[in-house]
Assembly symmetry: C2
Homo-oligomer: 460 residues x 2
């Protein structure tokens, strides 16, 4: 229930300063009327990703500092503010060329309390912000999120290095000789940073790191180690490509995906999702497309001849693949909602129903006994209850059901794949019955497993 | 998720002292070889109820102080310790006749940390203990759970009164002239109480209230107001009868019960549960009895003639009634488990399946078209998904689905009652179809309702 962590940050409701004034020379956009912050990754601009990541962590008050090509960026930000219903204040920093410290300083009139600083061109896991905000800010100090997996940092040469000692930062800079972590560009600060920057400016030092160095001197600069959480500084064409690959690889739901999902469906659905990501198609629309595809498959099965059965089987598998896309798009584009997940799950059960009826009907035409229908009904009930079992388990135990081989076998990805295979060999009914039997065995097995595992609390 | 509150108390894991040394003159047990603490209410002795209530609040280390007829009580406690797998230390108080303060004092060698004091003859809502333990104990002080609903207290004349002022107790005694609350007999204490009792003993005062009065003098006695939570001191034959009625009335699950449950099933199932409570029948066994009754109904429907159909209808309604008993017994006898609730829910869906198939089959015999089966399948899917919808909602939103009239109409109690009615008029299939249609309308309605209510997060 990571939602609880999310709330923590939301309650604090600190402001978020996003630095977007720089030119980004190393990664020029191809379009003339676009800044680096506007470069799109899977349908969302870099700054949009920074904003939506912070929003997902429960934050909603944004200040974006602009400088280079400011009119263009401001009009983009106004659009984002409208689309996402967010409060975005815009601060102009005419001195942006001096260094990014001047951009932070430009906000000093707008900020009273503690606040976050983000870079417009960094991708990051929203949970970094929620975790960061749980740390106690040192009085008149700041905390920097650092990454200690130095060997995994992309383009280490260009990164800002830090030396951390027992949770405190003792050195920071691009050219440190000895260091044990890298600056992720995610800060949680008290307003002290403005005084620190003023001090740095007096010595003609204008980068944010120069301000941070002053806080280090006062022994008030703490570090928060992000562990294995994802972040990436997009500075070059190469890192942009790497970012796309990284986001894509995060789409596999390792904890939930069955075998077929993982090795057959995901590789295809991810490609489809990438294509779809550039169009304004919402996850719920994709849910409906998958639903309609499934219903079409059911109708095809009714026809009964091999050509239609084969086509129906293909549609079943296609529906199964598209069923992965809604979640992928939702995660790629920050469009996930509880409603979407709930809606998707219920429609899946209707598709299961339609496919079972289609297959059962066509079998009954050639085998008009009552058993044709009873087999079909029992298989269908097995499918639905396999899923129902897990939902009810969550409601009773407040945790997801433990994994087991048989439950992996009876997941929807496998089930639809078996029906697809059954259609290929023109035996969809027997495929349905087989997977139905396995489903009921899985349910019985689950009873025994949970009963004996939770022995003390589950006595008969 | 009251489970979280329960954990709070469990982590503290304080000892629980239960006072069971007194004679209980006003409520003599009819059996010679039994103390007052052993009087049974719905199959559990009074002291067993005190222990299990504390256990439900997460506490597991018990000290029971015995005196009057101690051998008899000790052998009962040994049995309880074995049955419930609990650690029960027994302390003998030879001076029990002097007053209940001597019983508390008798434990002083066994107690190092903070502890609870309970009376063996009080019934109480376990959440009183969890809430009480969340209060900060004053250093060298104690907290008493008090009830401010004075006019609702049973047998006020005999109760110990207290005067509370801003969360502190300033007076305690049976004969207070002015008071604004009643002592529930549930204490949370630091070991200071032993010194306070010693002081009282020196003045030849031997009741627990006398010790508490010393803590009041030091201004260290806090009050925790239990609000509307249930508690009852069982002192007389009359209060024992009242207790039985009170426990019974708590069995209605007001928040969950549908109309039929509330006005038809509960009044009957509660009577059955009361009878069953005196036998060692576990809730899971009752779940299985309800399941088998439902399966029998399904087989009866297959026969098709009116006599069997009517009988099947009666069995359906009986199964629905018995389905209430497992939960009632679980709550009456502290036998509720997540496994039991989970198991019950899944078996209910199998009964729904069997009944639908039975009715569908018998209808198909006289109406051998494909639509007979498709109607039956769609109705069944409507039944299962009506329930599935709610479980999945909980998993996605981390809260129960809001109530609505149509969802109340499609609950299982109503559904089975409609089928029962359908059987009476010899039209079970049409009853099935009607309630099936309403179920699907309910599902569609739920989509719209949640989509528009959660408008911002649920955009298409």
């Amino acid at each position: 229930m990571s939602i609880i962590g999310t709330k923590a940050a939301a309650e604090i409701n600190n402001k978020v300063v996003i630095l977007a004034a720089g030119e980004g020379k190393r990664l020029r956009t191809k379009k003339k009327n676009e800044t680096k912050a506007q470069i799109k990754v899977y349908g969302l601009s870099l700054i949009q990703r920074a904003i939506l990541s912070a929003k997902k962590a429960g934050l909603s008050n944004f200040i974006v500092v602009v400088g280079y090509k400011k009119e263009i960026l401001v009009s983009h930000l106004k659009k984002l503010s409208k689309i996402h219903d967010l409060n975005i204040e815009i601060v102009e920093n005419p001195q942006w060329e001096k260094g990014n410290g001047t951009s932070v300083y430009a906000c000093h009139d707008l900020i009273k309390g503690n606040f976050f600083i983000l870079m417009c061109d960094h991708l990051f896991d929203p949970s970094i912000l929620t975790e960061l905000s749980k740390n106690n800010l040192p009085e008149n100090g700041a905390i920097l999120a650092i990454d200690k997996n130095i060997d995994k940092v992309f383009d280490l040469g260009d990164a800002t290095k830090v030396q951390d000692q027992d949770g405190s930062i003792i050195r920071i800079g691009k050219n440190l000789k000895s260091f044990n972590a890298v600056d992720t560009g995610i800060f949680f600060c008290t307003p002290t940073i403005f005084a620190a920057l003023e001090n740095a400016f007096r010595e003609r030092k204008h980068s944010l790191s120069d301000g941070i160095a002053r806080i280090i001197n006062l022994d008030k600069m703490k570090a928060y180690d992000i562990g294995n959480k994802f972040w990436l500084d997009i500075d070059t064409e190469k890192s942009l490509k790497y970012a796309k690959r990284a986001l894509l690889s995060q789409l596999n739901k390792i904890s939930e995906d069955g075998f077929i999902s993982r090795f057959v469906n995901r590789p295809i659905s991810k490609r489809i999702s990438v294509m779809l990501s550039y169009f304004p198609i919402s996850p719920n629309i994709i849910t409906i497309i998958s639903f309609v595809t499934g219903l079409m498959a059911a109708f095809m099965f009714i026809k009964g001849n091999y050509f239609f059965t084969l086509f129906a089987g293909l549609l079943v598998q296609l529906s199964s693949i598209i069923d992965g896309c809604d979640g992928e798009i939702a995660r790629l584009k920050f469009q996930g909602t509880p409603f979407g997940a709930w809606f998707d799950t219920i429609l899946d059960r209707y598709v299961d129903t339609a496919i079972s009826i289609g297959i059962g009907y066509s079998f009954w035409l050639t085998h008009p006994g009552v058993l044709s229908w009873i087999g079909c009904i029992l298989a269908l009930v097995g499918f639905i209850l396999t899923s129902y079992l897990k939902k009810e388990y969550f409601r009773r135990y407040f945790e997801e059901m433990p994994k087991s081989f048989i439950r992996t076998l009876t997941k929807r990805d496998t089930r639809l794949f078996v029906i697809f295979m059954g259609a290929i060999i023109n035996k969809p009914y027997w495929a349905l019955i087989s997977i139905g039997i396995i489903s009921h065995i899985g349910i019985g097995w689950s009873f025994l497993e949970i009963y004996f595992r939770k022995n003390h609390s589950g006595r008969m």
